[in-house]
């Protein structure tokens, strides 16, 4: 927002000067009669070429499929039309342009359509589950009942997926209780205690991110259920989910912690902070949003996994709130079991459960985007406000303490030398004071 150059003949503005937006002034014709040029690279002929070749391709394919040749099928139609489109587009562009430009246009068209295709597939997958699940989702009892009283032939107005939703919640909470502390400690370890051992752990963890989920389930089945003799239960399933989620969370958190600027760490060490103070008060608060995102994304992956739960949790149609005893189902497992049934009502329940699961994942994902998506050290307005008030509070406290050197101040640790008004005059106080007692970054 710059101060506009004064228009000729304008009255000098009164003191204090005000900012005037250039857009509000009448636009004067520039000297020399030049007009502002449009910088867009898109020309009208480009649009005509795309629209024309698209229409021609559709018409040609329709002619082939319905009148001339014995072809059918939606996929075939789309593929043939797309091939024709590329050919015709190349032909149209070659009327105006030379060889490399034609290749460029064709490549651009292919790349754009592939990008569009990927997004379209996602949209179809998500929307299909939601649309098919609507038959079950409109019944309120779907959210409030379990399947205990609902046989396979019952209509959709009886029975629901409450047991699966509760089971998912219990399992994921136990899995998070295991993975979050362990995962974050391990991620901090990888970054704060570098060395050959950390490098080895990182290599193993990175390789384990693609651990097949069924192998995680098989491992828990072999150890906990066959080895320790436990029943198939919610706890075993949570352990299987933990084994699967742990490398994912560690890897994401490791990447986030790695992004913390080294200068921040060095500044902390230079003020005499110990390495655990540095980690706790500087490194972790700086990347808090990124760590939250990595945990949420790991949770989203864990919630949707079926195969570890399939092997370890068993299957039940009753609500089971005890993770230690008896089988427990989760949403993906219930989906999987429901759609195996030939009854249309059961299949609808399966789709309903799938859309519930999908909604949960979407919710977690949106939460992750809201919390994260910012680089380390970038604050929201509210966080910034809090830091500013905390900083003011500290400043006033320092000033108060510096002004009156009262004997009662001995009880508290002395202010670090750098913060004193009479700073470097005397010999620096020994480093018994803690520069991070005020926790500058950790006031959430």
């Amino acid at each position: 927002m710059t101060v506009a150059p004064e228009a000729p003949g304008a009255r000098r503005p009164p003191w204090p000067p005000r900012t005037e937006l250039p857009g509000l002034l009448p636009r004067t014709e520039a000297p020399g009669g030049e007009r502002r040029r449009t910088l867009t690279a898109l020309r009208d002929t480009d649009v005509y070429a795309v629209v024309g070749s698209l229409a021609a391709a559709l018409a040609l394919t329709w002619l082939l499929f319905t009148r001339l040749l014995p072809f059918d099928g939606v996929v075939g139609f789309v593929v043939t039309a797309y091939g024709f489109f590329l050919l015709l587009y190349a032909l149209l562009v070659s009327f105006d342009e030379s060889g490399p430009a034609v290749v460029d246009r064709i490549a651009a068209a292919v790349v754009r359509s592939l990008g569009l295709l990927l997004v379209a597939i996602l949209a179809v997958v998500v929307v299909y589950a939601l649309v098919e699940g609507r038959k079950a989702l409109v019944h309120l009892n779907f959210f409030t009942q379990d399947m205990e009283l609902a046989g396979p032939l019952e209509p959709l107005s009886v029975g629901g997926a409450l047991h699966a939703a509760l089971g998912t919640l219990i399992m994921i909470v136990i899995a998070l209780v295991v993975t979050v502390p362990l995962g974050l400690v391990c991620a901090v370890f990888l970054n704060e205690v570098p060395g050959p051992f950390a490098r080895f752990v990182r290599t193993i963890v990175e390789a384990m991110t693609a651990l097949p989920s069924i192998v995680a389930g098989l491992f828990i089945y072999a150890t906990v259920i066959l080895g320790l003799g436990m029943d198939q239960s919610g706890l075993a399933a949570s352990f299987a989910l933990s084994v699967m989620m742990l490398p994912i969370i560690i890897r994401a958190a490791d990447v986030v912690i790695r992004l913390v600027p080294g200068t921040l760490r060095e500044a902390a060490y230079a003020t005499g902070a110990s390495s655990w103070r540095t980690a706790w008060h500087v490194v972790l608060p700086t990347c808090r949003s990124g760590l939250t995102t990595s945990v949420i994304l790991g949770t989203a992956r864990g919630i949707g996994e079926t195969s570890p739960v399939l092997l370890t949790a068993g299957f039940t149609s009753e609500t089971n709130l005890d993770p230690l005893h008896g089988p427990m189902v989760s949403l993906p497992l219930a989906t999987f079991e429901f759609v195996k049934s030939p009854e249309p009502a059961m299949a609808s329940r399966g789709f309903g459960t799938a859309s519930l699961l999908m909604a949960l994942v979407l919710l977690l994902f949106v939460a992750a985007r809201v919390v994260g998506g910012r680089g380390p050290g970038h604050l929201t307005r509210r966080q910034e406000h809090r830091r500013v008030t905390a900083s003011r509070r500290d400043a006033s406290r320092f000033a108060e303490r510096g002004a009156g050197a009262r004997p009662s101040a001995d009880a508290k640790p002395p202010v670090p030398a750098a913060d004193r008004p009479d700073g470097p005059s005397g010999p620096a106080t020994p480093q018994s004071s803690d520069p991070f007692r005020t926790r500058p970054g950790s006031s959430s």
């Binding site: 362990l182 963890v205 110990s274 399939l310 092997l311 699961l357």
Partner: protein, 339 residues
């Protein structure tokens, strides 16, 4: 807490020898490092235990079967005839189809996001691709069974009819002249499972490729433009050569995921225990579906055999993944500076 520097001896102050540097971290720091180290060690132990325990449980079956475990196509552990030849071939074929589908899709989408998309759209697209990677596999499986399968069947039949002379695209028992031929010849095939798994791994490959593409040096891009390259010319001469390592590594990472994918494949294929080279023909197999199908009814020895199959899958994905991450790490600039 205090980082004291211990100067070695006051006697040789004049001599300019190397000093012994000793930093005493203090008790809190020592505790902190101990906690961190034990956390790292615990994670490492769990991860190593996965492989170790599988091998321990599988030893009984592996010992009995010997090398025939890799060459037998049957699965009858209680009769003593079992091996992973069929399921391993099925797993590899499904993964191969998936990679063939996913790589062009992911490359195009990654190029679009990093080179063509307007900046405002770019962030949204990145989120969308990440979301696609987080969609549960059971949802993909549902979509594959109930939506995709019926729509792909005519295409599968067309390919089998006109390209059937290529050996692995052949469908035995299909009669192109018979308009009423049952569609069930083409359902539950490797091809359809591979398609669905391909859609699942495309976002993973795409996000790695996008990251590598966007790291292509700006100076070289501008140099290519200054020499008169079109956008595609710039991509071909700068972005793609620069991102080659990331493309290969991302593809292998996706391959690792495709090999281990369970539930979507299990929902689509109908398990057979012959080596099924015909991609379009109904009936296929994969290691993970074998485990998911048979774990419940397995006897003690059968369980050991399933553990052996799981161990084979584990080793396969681990090897692919190690190779992938080393390729990605080498292609990424500045990766050597950390750790």
């Amino acid at each position: 807490m205090t980082a004291g520097v211990d100067v070695g001896g006051a006697a040789d102050i004049g001599a300019d020898g190397p000093r012994r540097l000793h930093a005493d971290p203090g008790l809190p720091d020592r505790l902190f490092r101990l906690v961190l180290r034990s956390g790292g060690g615990l994670v490492l132990a769990v991860m190593l235990l996965v492989g170790g325990f599988l091998l321990y449980r599988a030893w009984l079956a592996l010992d009995r079967a010997g090398w025939s475990f890799l060459t037998t196509a049957e699965w009858a552990p209680d009769a003593g005839r079992f091996g992973i030849a069929a399921v391993l071939v099925g797993t590899l074929l499904i993964a191969a189809v998936a990679v063939c589908v996913a790589v062009p899709l992911a490359t195009g989408a990654a190029l679009y996001i990093s080179e063509y998309a307007p900046p405002g759209l770019r962030r949204t697209l990145i989120s969308v691709v990440d979301l696609m990677a987080a969609v549960p596999s059971v949802v993909y499986g549902l979509w594959g069974v109930f939506f995709l399968q019926d729509r792909v069947l005519p295409t599968a039949r067309w390919i089998a009819t006109y390209l059937g002379w290529i050996p692995f695209l052949d469908v035995t028992g299909a009669d192109p002249a018979d308009p009423l031929a049952p569609a069930s010849l083409y359902t539950s095939s490797t091809f359809i499972a591979g398609l669905v798994v391909g859609m699942m791994i495309a976002p993973i490959i795409c996000s790695i490729m996008r990251e590598v593409f966007s790291q292509a040096p700006a100076g070289e891009r501008e140099g290519a433009y200054a020499l008169g390259a079109t956008r595609w010319g710039m991509i071909r001469s700068v972005v793609l050569p620069f991102g080659k390592g990331g493309m290969i590594g991302g593809t292998m990472l996706g391959l690792g995921r495709a090999l281990g994918e369970t539930i979507a494949v299990f929902m689509i294929i109908s398990l057979t225990f012959d080596i099924q080279w015909h991609v379009l023909q109904s009936g296929s197999s994969s290691v993970s579906s074998l485990i998911a199908l048979r774990y419940g009814e397995a006897s003690g020895f059968g369980m050991s055999a399933l553990m052996a199959a799981g161990f084979a899958l584990f080793v396969l994905t681990l090897v692919v993944n190690f190779a992938a991450s080393s390729i990605v790490a080498r292609s990424r600039s500045g990766a050597g500076s950390d750790a």
